[in-house]
């Protein structure tokens, strides 16, 4: 009964990754329910799903908010497999979290085995400018290096919160359309892949 209406719109599966305490859940909750949760409560794994209008199209976004803590690193592989797009989040006030993004990136690529997986590097807590440890340049350099967009957000002020989710979804949608095309003609897909690979390399 409940499945019928949900089954029709396309579902985009987004996974939130990043170190503990960078604001994954805060971003998610801000996006989902327009609320900012002050108190910190480590997440294990939370699921959210919501119907939204993406460029005039009814879609559903499925967000998997993962645990940032190292304790859960072993089970991340399982999550990552189901993800269609990733928001890799760090806190601009904490350099460690920024460094950890490297590891997350590598793990995702390893699991998905796809260099072009939709992926956004997100620097959170941009409202705390005075406590900034990671410069914009530093972060955007890394994003450029990975070939992904870099966006700075604030879960508290809701700055760029919608933007990161919508941008990622657009990428996922574009990629899905690509795949549909490639399933019709394989050759095209392969050439494209190679092209991109070359570019990055």
């Amino acid at each position: 009964m409940s499945k019928k209406p949900t089954a029709q719109p396309v579902i985009h599966k987004v996974i939130m990754v990043g170190s503990g305490g960078v604001g994954k859940s805060a971003l998610t909750l801000q996006f989902m329910y327009d609320e900012f949760v002050e108190d910190y409560e480590p997440t294990k794994a939370d699921s959210y799903r919501k119907k939204i209008l993406l460029d005039g199209e009814d879609v559903q976004i499925d967000i998997l908010d993962t645990a940032g803590q190292e304790d859960y690193a072993a089970i991340r592989d399982n999550y990552f497999r189901s993800g269609e797009g990733f928001l890799c989040i760090f806190s601009i006030t904490e350099d460690e979290s920024f460094q950890a993004t490297q590891e997350f990136r590598e793990q995702i690529l390893r699991v998905k085995n796809d260099e072009n997986i939709p992926f956004l590097l997100v620097g959170n807590k941009c409202d705390l400018e005075d406590k900034r440890k990671v410069t914009f340049q530093e972060a955007s350099d890394r994003a450029k290096q990975w070939g992904v967009p870099y966006v700075e957000t604030s879960a508290k002020t809701r700055e760029h919160v919608d933007k990161v989710f919508y941008d990622l979804m657009r990428e996922i949608r574009a990629r899905k359309m690509d795949e549909n095309k490639t399933s019709n003609g394989r050759g095209k897909d392969k050439s494209k892949k190679k092209k991109r690979l070359c570019k990055i390399l």
Partner: protein
């Protein structure tokens, strides 16, 4: 209708049972009460759900397993939908050693290892390759068991019986089909055999590998043999056993702990469930202290109903504890019940409590007994108290008597009420007050109001008790007031309160009678049996007679003490009498009134007093006493000439020398006591007055008051008074006429007078005048007291005068003519003067005297007539004195 709730977020999205989940979404209602349903993976978790906001609920997951939805139901939005899934899983580590917030079904967890190995849903294919029949009428299992004992149709069993199998599964299959099946089976077996060989051929490589491995193992085993001995698994076995033991130990410990926990929990449960029972002793104690016995009884009944058959030792202990309390309560109540004073209502309530508490006491009977005892004790206390006060009183009296004159002590006595009166008063009040309670409780006992089984013989005993109380009561009263109506034994038993002097008690008797009567009325109102009432009735009768008797006696005494003041009343209703008879009348009237009001009046259940012969006799006796007392007084007065002083005894009757006036003066000087003659006259007057008036008044009064049998007494007294009157009259005459008559002779011959003289009479002789004057004197004296006496007194005197005259005349030796004329004149004059008081005898005497005197001739007679006329004219005043007007 609000939009249905949608769950769009779960944090976390998986977890074992007991995971705290934040459920987010929309339309969860506007307040906690809107949330009416929550299922997680199909398990209802509403109980743990905590509504936070319209988009947030926190709940704890249940035992739901696997992926499932979280469905929220609200009051206005109905059952909602879910976009996300929750994955419930059971950590395999959940077991006896693992802490868990929820109940985990342990059985499948423990047997998981074995279960997974056993072929659970192994579908047996028909070995003959035939389709399985859908037969309706299967051969029953019993039949098969009978035909194939010890066999079965299971193809995998060692007891497999083909017959059974065929009958069971292929009862209707044709023989051809069965033959085909047999061929199929053969081929299958063949194929299997061939298949083994080909399988080996195909896998020769791995077979060789296996052989190699086996060889390797063998070699290894061989090399290990010297090192580990013949039984290399021994150590392992040991280790396994060891670990098994350890595990068991561990497990045992856990089990024992679990057991202990279970026990504790059970105990707690029991305590909780039977809190009522265990708290009851305290509750009972508290309620007892508060006096809420009804609650105690209620609780006790409940407990008894619930637990009296229990075999559980702890319940028994608790019950014992309660029983102990109840027993104490019973004792207390029982004690209260018997503690006097207490009202009947209180007693009844206590009895009801005791009965409800199943007390071993015969509460109602005890209450009755204690009441009876209480009354008896009270009697004794009252008696003792008054006995002691009496002693004090007596001492006082004695000391006062020794100190003061008798009069003074009497005054003191009047002021202090005698103890026996107080005693009777109090005992009456006590009986009126407490006896009804005894009766009432007895009535309710026997009428079954107290819900007690009345034991046989109780009726008699109770009756005895009541009678005893009444009897004791009566005897006490009798002992203290009319001890003479008791036997000696009773008198000894019921004390010796000294009965006070008659005068003293007389005041109180009517009052006492009233007390006893009021008690009697109380008893009558109680509807006591006649037998009991009669006892009191008899007492009352005795008392009434006694009362009457004492009152009369007292009056008698008072009458005896009456004294004459000799003051004659000249005005008012009764003339010529002193106060004495009037006082007497008053006293008698008073006593009649009192007796009528007290003893004679009939109240409830009393017969008219005078119907009793004893009372009648007593009354007559007492009336007689009263009347004779008065008679005695008069008698005393009339005979007590010498009682007065001697001075007064001087002859008062006038000679020609003395005058009564002078002697009266001396009399008045002496305390107004008149002279003897006057006194006699006064007494006489009183006597007559009493006889004629007072006694009649008294008689009427008696009759009016209901004393009907006093005629005889009155008549009796009248006779007595008649006699007395005569005596007094004689005495008076003796006093009066003797000197008067005695003076005639000397006066006649005064101056050597001789009847043989020659002087022509011109007047009557002085002696005759003196005689007339003397009589007038007496006349005045008597009239001064009471003119009613004139006839009696003067007639008698005239008689004696006439007699004397006759005697004197007959003694004359010789009359001259003139002398005869003189004598005739004198005699006729006297005759004329005394005409009014001349009796027949006197007339005779006068006539005889005239006869003695010689007859006169007509001329001589004329002279006599002439002298007489002249004399009458001269002595007109004297004549008028002696005339009756």
């Amino acid at each position: 209708m609000a939009p249905p709730p949608i769950v769009s977020g779960l944090s976390p999205n998986e977890g074992p049972p007991g995971t705290r989940i934040k459920i987010r979404g929309e339309n969860f209602g506007s307040q906690p009460s809107d949330l009416i349903g929550l299922t997680i993976c199909g398990v209802d978790c509403l109980l743990t759900a905590e509504w936070k906001s319209p988009n947030k609920i926190i709940a704890i997951s249940g035992t739901g397993k696997g992926k499932g939805e979280v469905i929220v139901t609200t009051k206005y939005g109905g059952t909602g939908t879910c976009n996300v899934t929750f994955k419930g899983y059971h950590l395999t580590t959940i077991g006896p050693m693992k802490e868990s917030a929820v109940w985990v079904e342990e059985t499948p967890l423990f047997s998981w290892g074995r279960h997974s190995l056993s072929p659970t849903s192994f579908q047996q294919e028909d070995p003959l390759g035939l389709s399985i029949e859908e037969t309706e009428n299967k051969i029953s299992e019993d039949f098969l068991i009978n035909h194939f004992p010890g066999k079965c149709g299971d193809i995998t069993s060692t007891n497999f019986s083909p017959g059974w199998f065929l009958l069971e599964n292929h009862q209707n299959t044709s023989f051809n089909d069965l033959s085909a099946g047999l061929v199929h089976l053969r081929r299958k077996v063949q194929g299997q055999k061939e298949g083994q060989l080909s399988f080996l051929k195909a896998n020769i490589g791995s077979v060789m590998d296996q052989v190699d491995t086996l060889v390797n193992i063998w070699e290894k085993y061989d090399s290990d043999l010297p090192k580990l001995g013949n039984e290399p698994t021994l150590k392992l076995e040991k280790a396994i056993k060891e670990s098994e033991r350890e595990a068991r130990k561990l497990f045992d410990e856990v089990l024992s702990r679990k057991d202990r926990a279970e026990k504790t929990r059970n105990a707690l449960n029991v305590l909780q469930r039977f809190k009522f029972l265990f708290c009851l002793p305290c509750v009972i104690e508290r309620n007892i202290r508060k006096g809420e016995y009804d609650i105690v009884i209620n609780d006790y009944m409940r407990v008894k109903n619930l637990f009296h058959k229990t075999d559980v030792p702890i319940f028994k202990d608790a019950l014992n504890e309660i029983e102990k309390r109840i027993e104490e309560l019973q004792k207390k109540l029982h004690h209260d019940l018997q503690t006097m004073p207490i009202t009947v209502e209180q007693q009844k309530r206590l009895i009801r409590y005791l009965i409800n508490l199943d007390s071993p006491y015969d509460a109602a009977w005890d209450a009755i007994k204690s009441r009876s005892d209480y009354i008896n004790k009270k009697f004794k206390t009252i008696y003792k108290y008054h006995k002691s006060t009496e002693k004090v009183e007596m001492d006082k009296k004695k000391s006062s008597a020794s100190k003061f004159a008798f009069n003074n002590s009497q005054i003191i006595e009047m002021n202090t009420v005698p103890s026996c009166v107080n005693f009777v008063d109090e005992i009456c009040a006590t009986v009126s007050e407490i006896f009804p309670d005894l009766w009432k409780i007895g009535q309710s006992y026997f009428s079954g109001e107290l819900k007690v089984k009345v034991e046989a013989g109780r009726q008699v005993e109770y009756k005895h008790m009541v009678m005893n109380v009444i009897e004791t009561f009566c005897k006490y009263i009798k002992a203290s007031i009319i001890p003479n109506t008791l036997d000696k034994a009773d008198r000894n038993q019921f004390g010796t309160l000294t009965t006070p002097e008659r005068d003293e008690i007389a005041h109180y008797l009517p009052e006492l009678l009233r007390s006893v009567r009021s008690t009697y009325a109380t008893l009558i109102r109680l509807d006591l049996p006649n037998e009991a009432l009669d006892i009191v009735g008899n007492l009352l009768l005795d008392l009434r007679i006694h009362c009457m008797s004492i009152l009369f006696q007292q009056t008698t005494e008072q009458i005896k003490q009456l004294s004459e003041n000799w003051q004659i009343q000249y005005n008012g209703k009764y003339m010529g009498v002193t106060e004495l008879p009037i006082k007497f009348l008053q006293l008698v009237e008073d006593v009649i009134q009192i007796v009528k009001e007290s003893a004679l009046s009939c109240e409830q259940r009393e017969s008219p007093l005078l119907e009793k012969p004893i009372a009648q006799k007593e009354l007559e006796k007492q009336v007689d006493c009263i009347l004779s007392a008065f008679h005695g007084i008069l008698n005393n007065l009339s005979s007590s000439e010498d009682l007065e002083d001697g001075e007064d005894s001087s002859p008062v009757v006038s000679q020609l020398i003395g005058t009564p006036a002078s002697s009266q003066k001396t009399g008045s000087a002496k305390q107004n006591i008149p002279i003897w003659e006057h006194r006699l006259l006064i007494i006489l007057s009183n006597c007559m007055f009493t006889k004629n008036t007072i006694l009649d008044i008294i008689l009427t009064k008696f009759k009016e008051s209901g004393f009907l049998s006093v005629d005889a007494c009155i008549t009796n007294t009248k006779t007595k008074l008649d006699n007395l009157e005569r005596t007094i009259l004689d005495k008076y005459l003796e006093q009066k006429s003797d000197p008067l008559v005695g003076t005639i002779e000397p006066s006649m011959y005064l101056g050597r007078f001789d009847w043989d003289m020659t002087v022509v009479p011109t007047d009557i002789r002085p002696y005759a005048k003196e005689c007339i004057n003397n009589l007038i004197n007496v006349h005045s004296e008597v009239t001064g007291i009471s003119s009613a006496l004139l006839d009696n007194v003067l007639t008698r005197i005239v008689e004696t005068i006439a007699e004397e005259l006759y005697r004197l005349m007959s003694c004359v030796q010789k009359f001259s003519k003139q002398g005869a004329q003189q004598a005739r004149t004198d005699i006729q004059a006297l005759q004329e003067f005394f005409k009014e008081y001349t009796s027949d005898a006197a007339k005779g005497h006068f006539a005889e005297a005239l006869n003695v005197v010689p007859q006169l001739e007509t001329s001589e007679k004329a002279l006599v007539e002439d002298v007489l006329r002249q004399c009458k004219g001269r002595m007109r005043i004297q004549l008028m004195c002696l005339r009756k007007t």
